[in-house]
């Protein structure tokens, strides 16, 4: 299945990536599993994605990392928001 992954702010800088389009196996069922998979890309990835304040969103909604992923989903990783 195909998903889009986006990174913002500090996390974007740490992994030097704004957006990925990923072909992933059907076994990758949750955000948590996706994080583990992406962490294999190197130390910077592992560190950024294990940050205790990391926020994850699926299809533009903030979710717990146990949230499921399905084909076509948009997943995003970012630090706490500072709008307004």
């Amino acid at each position: 299945m195909t998903i889009t992954v986006k990174f913002f702010s500090l996390i974007r800088e740490a992994v030097a990536t704004e957006q990925l389009t990923l072909e992933i196996s059907e076994n990758l069922l949750t955000v948590e599993a996706l994080k583990a998979e992406l962490s294999l890309r190197g130390e910077a990835w592992e560190e950024a994605l294990s940050h205790p304040n990391l926020i994850q969103a699926v299809n533009q909604r903030v979710v717990f990392q146990e949230e499921g992923i399905k084909d076509g989903d948009e997943v995003a990783f970012f630090p706490p928001m500072t709008g307004g």
Binding site: F8, L10, R61, E74, A76, P79, P80, T82, G83, G84
Partner: protein, 154 residues
């Protein structure tokens, strides 16, 4: 447009004028936040406001609709800037109207308190050659949490 997220300059004066003209309800509140030229560390020369655009529009729309239902609003509007800004540039504009001023004020403040921590924008302040991501202030978390406590009281 109820929600507008844009990288172009926004004009809270024009926005307020239009909102007042179209919604002469009993009680109308507007709020606008502008870029500070100072922070705890001193002078701020410019601000970069990063945005997850699709999510921002969605979060702000849900927030406005939620505020409308919770406070019985007659009308509301949220406009949020992103991109590169200078001190004194407007960042955000919120307007609410209701039959009573308590609801109009509370809704406007609720929207501001909530979007500070729940809308996907990230501020990076620049001073000279130095740039630094702004971290969430405890006071902003506390102000956000005030409204959740009220939720659970109900």
């Amino acid at each position: 447009m109820l929600v507008h997220v844009t990288d172009r300059a926004i004009d809270p004066g024009n926005l307020a004028a239009a909102f007042y003209r179209h919604h002469p309800d009993a009680a109308v509140t507007t709020f606008s936040g502008f870029v500070r030229d100072f922070n705890d560390a001193g002078q701020v020369d410019s601000l970069y406001l990063e945005c997850y655009l699709e999510m921002a529009t969605r979060v702000l729309t849900d927030l406005g609709n939620g505020a409308a239902q919770r406070f019985g609003l007659r009308a509301w509007q949220i406009v949020h800037r992103y991109g590169h800004l200078q001190p004194s540039d407007p960042i955000v504009f919120v307007a609410t109207s209701a039959d009573h001023r308590g609801e109009a004020f509370a809704a406007c403040e609720f929207v501001m308190d909530t979007l500070k921590t729940d809308a996907p924008f990230w501020k990076r302040e620049h001073y000279g050659e130095i740039g630094q991501w702004v971290t969430v202030k405890d006071i902003d978390k506390d102000r956000r949490d005030r409204w959740s406590e009220k939720d659970s009281d109900q």
